[in-house]
């Protein structure tokens, strides 16, 4: 081998080593994120933990399969189905659902809770957009770590995307990316794309369990008009309106009612109502992190919601919610979700006393804001092993 050839192979080897190092360092972080298991301490109200694949067989063995927590009361009553992390980059939903799972005691009726509705999306992220891979909630026993997910399922689990997503069964043409968005694939089908099998599983739960109310918890940008609200179709609007008025009067926060559009298909608040007896509600709380004109997308911004650019836009009247130096903290968002869910159940029980739902030990808005979200999470190290679910 002459000198020139030897030099060429040295350069190639250096390049190869550098690229391998980049690939291993970057790849390991993404791999660890995808396989990170978050402990959930089963609270006193949980009577059964099932898998969504028990209701939609096509999910078995896939990353889209997810835990379903049943909290059955001592007495029969109404049934409420709570879905969180339909969009896994809106984590106030997940935190609110975990408060219910770890603390709620059901006296009458049944709660069915899926904390990671789009489990695949919770294992997907946007490092290219500067999303943090994780965020932590401080608790009395240390920080509880959560995966920061993405809006859509991971392409590792569902691929390729079509040029246009043709919604089933209405055949409406939707954006290609929405084939991986579990708030566009309702009501789903047993043998459709993976995300349609997820929503199909949820529809099966609602049909088999005769669920009365379904609550899909989200977060939305402060610059998006459908934020800080309850979205409801005609069949749910009365309960939604009473809830909105009550939380405003009693607890002092806004959560107005938006009507579910009948011409826009695939959304939970549309299809659940149209394809089952269940009354759907979709909750939105403002999440400044998702707004486009913000500073860096840090875990701090995700938690405190404070951003100077949004503050400036707020002064110019460009936001759809009130916004000041205090930002829009995670505590406020989670507290709103807890209160609105509890109030929906109270209003439902008032309207149909024979299907009363009675849940205690879940904090309302003021308590969550005062104590912080972490106050309601239990130390998995101190809990019995059979009381911890790794999600």
């Amino acid at each position: 081998m002459d000198n020139k050839t030897s030099r060429l192979w040295t350069v190639k080897l250096i390049f190869l080593l550098v690229m391998t190092a980049i690939m291993v360092i970057g790849g390991l972080q993404l791999y660890t994120h995808r396989h990170y298991k978050m402990p959930i301490v089963i609270g006193p109200g949980v009577t059964k933990v099932a898998q969504l694949s028990e209701f939609s067989e096509g999910l078995k063995g896939t990353m889209a399969d997810t835990d379903v927590f049943f909290l059955e009361g001592k007495e029969e009553g109404g049934k409420v189905f709570i879905m969180a992390n339909t969009h896994a980059n809106e984590p106030s939903a997940l935190l609110a659902s975990l408060i219910f799972i770890e603390n709620a005691v059901v006296e009458k009726g049944t709660l069915i809770i899926i904390p990671q509705f789009n489990n695949s999306a919770s294992r997907n992220t946007r490092p290219g957009d500067g999303y943090p891979l994780y965020f932590e909630i401080p608790t009395e026993w240390g920080a509880k770590k959560f995966r920061m997910g993405n809006r859509d399922a991971s392409p590792l689990d569902q691929w390729p995307d079509p040029d246009v997503y043709i919604h089933y069964p209405d055949k409406q043409l939707l954006s290609f990316i929405d084939v991986r968005n579990t708030n566009r694939t309702w009501p789903g089908r047993a043998n459709g794309p993976l995300m349609e099998r997820v929503t199909h599983g949820a529809m099966q739960i609602m049909r088999e369990e005769s669920v009365d109310m379904a609550v899909d918890i989200h977060g939305a940008e402060t610059m998006f008009p459908v934020t800080n609200c309850i979205v409801a179709p005609d069949k749910s609007v009365r309960i939604a309106t009473m809830t909105s008025l009550t939380v405003k009067a009693r607890e002092g926060f806004e959560s107005h009612v938006e009507s579910s559009p009948s011409g826009f298909r695939g959304l939970s608040h549309r299809e659940i109502g149209d394809y089952s007896e269940t009354m759907p509600f979709l909750l939105e709380a403002p999440i400044p992190f998702l707004d486009q004109p913000t500073g860096p997308k840090t875990a701090k911004l995700l938690l405190d919601g404070k951003d100077p650019f949004l503050l400036s836009l707020s002064k110019k009247g460009k936001l759809f919610v009130s916004y000041d130096e205090t930002g829009w903290s995670m505590e406020k968002r989670v507290g709103q979700h807890c209160s609105v869910v509890l109030e929906l159940m109270r209003q439902f029980s008032r309207r149909l006393p024979e299907k009363k739902i009675e849940v205690r030990n879940v904090p309302r808005y003021a308590e969550v804001v005062k104590n912080g979200v972490g106050y309601y999470f239990h130390d998995p190290k101190k809990a019995d092993k059979d009381k911890v679910v790794l999600n």
């Binding site: 060429l8 970057g26 790849g27 590792l156 390729p160």
Partner: protein, 51 residues
Amino acid sequence: MPLIMIIYYVISAFIAGMLVWNFIREKKNVNDMLLYLLVLIPLVLRILRVK
């Protein structure tokens, strides 16, 4: 895993193989060598089911 997804992995592996082959064969242009390796990264991460 659906058939179409398996086909995508086969296509990814084929393109990755072509890139490695071109990287090995490249004798002069350092920019091209780097380019082959850069393009290779997402394909390898997909084949290994990392991202």
